[in-house]
Amino acid sequence: MTYLRYIIVLFAVWQTNAQRSDFNHIDFKKADSIALSYSNETLHNLPDLTSKLTANLETEVEQFRAIYFWVCHNISNDYSWYLKNKRKRERFKDDLDQLNSWNEQSRSRILKNMLNKKRTICTGYAYLVKKLATLANIECEIVDGFGRTSMIDVDKLTTPNHSWNAVKIDNKWYLCDPTWASGIPNPETQKFMFYYNDGFYLANPKLFAINHFPADEKWLLMDQNAPTFKDFIDAPVVYGKAYTNLNGHEAPKKMHHDVRKYETITFKYELAKSVEADDITFEIDDGYRNKKIHPKTTHQEDSSLTVQYQFDTTGFYDVHLFIGEDRISTYTFNVKG
């Protein structure tokens, strides 16, 4: 047992920071353009599709990239089906028979839509990535778990609601989320639109864990500092753009805060690329109106960004961090006198 524990710890330590920057020396342009050149391919001949996507690529990471990029750009999200599935799963969560029967029904519809319309929901994305990767002899798993967005009510987050992938590249496990990378619902029509977000490819496990908590915790790919499910539930809301701007979200660790007037609140981030102080803004919403402010204290050292803020009026505020035009994260502050 002790040995096993050592091995697990070693394994976990070795896994830390398995992220995209491990491949900074590789330009994904070739893999991406191969994937784009096969946009008209269907899912009827998976071995053929896999070989088209990977045959001219040398490295595992590029082969996987082409597969992932193809899935993200060609499979659309069946948003209305997602809403229906969510309702049904919530209704049947305590009734295993009903849940299984619903799963069986939805399964055949999902397969038909995936094959004939290239349309699915997230397990379908993760499934296709795994399927194509496996055909290319790349070890890849579907990770089921909890996904959290600004629209998810955490009090109702009791059963897994999301799936993503873990992939083994050059003997190391990495995380990616093809569903969230592919697009978002159009803010006006609420219909799915392709809007590729590159930040979810081999994302930093620490950042990933803020809004992805796997049912099997080994897929956190983190050492003993791994967050608990409670940490995940308490964490701030982070948006897709956090993944393109940040490598890590260090502080605050929580979404909701009770503070005093003039108390200093510290925000700390690991940046993916350096930013101008002017690009950092807070949008502060008091329930009546929004105001955008530039925090007075920002400090950047290497890739580490620290921002400090004090409220000078009492009230209840939603605070959104922006980098440039990108909404990064949200916190709430109940400010007392």
Binding site: D144, T149, S150, I184, T332
Partner: protein, 151 residues
């Protein structure tokens, strides 16, 4: 000539179709006699164990025949799909040791190595996509629900 088949693939069931077997034996008998006219051809064929007829088969899951299953000769782009009855005829004569890859969205990919002179293959596919979950990402900003007291 004996019709024989075995397979390494798990959960594979091959059904011996009796009329087909008789037909195959008759065909074998005739073709062997005809092929004696072309001794060289026969020699090379028997060396590679090339099938005299095209391989036919049925692909199904536990609920019945599957339409659109892709069947490829491994390492090539030669292949075909099953029809609405789950049936297929492989377009190329196969030989012993050839591997057929059966793939279909929602099912485990299956590889079947041909042993002996196969004429009829029945393949059962098992599903590999069971639980379906879904959440989409959104850029919609978080907004606190505010009670009247707070306002």
């Amino acid at each position: 000539m004996k019709t024989l088949f075995t397979s390494n693939a798990p959960k594979l069931s091959i059904q011996l179709m009796k009329p087909t077997l008789v037909m195959a034996l008759i065909l074998c008998f005739f073709s062997t006699s005809f092929m004696n006219l072309d001794a060289q051809n026969t020699a090379s064929k028997s060396a590679n164990n090339v099938q005299e007829s095209l391989l036919k088969g049925i692909v199904a899951d536990e609920n019945g025949p599957l339409l659109g299953v892709n069947i490829l000769l491994k390492g090539t782009t030669t292949g075909t799909f099953t029809d609405e009855k789950g049936a297929f005829t492989f377009p190329k004569a196969l030989k012993q040791g050839d591997v057929l890859v059966f793939s279909f969205v929602g099912y485990d990919t299956k590889e079947i190595k041909l042993v002996g002179n196969l004429t009829m293959l029945k393949v059962e596919m098992t599903s590999d996509l069971n639980e379906i979950l879904g959440t989409v990402d959104t850029n919609t900003p978080y907004k606190s629900k505010r009670s009247k007291r707070r306002n």
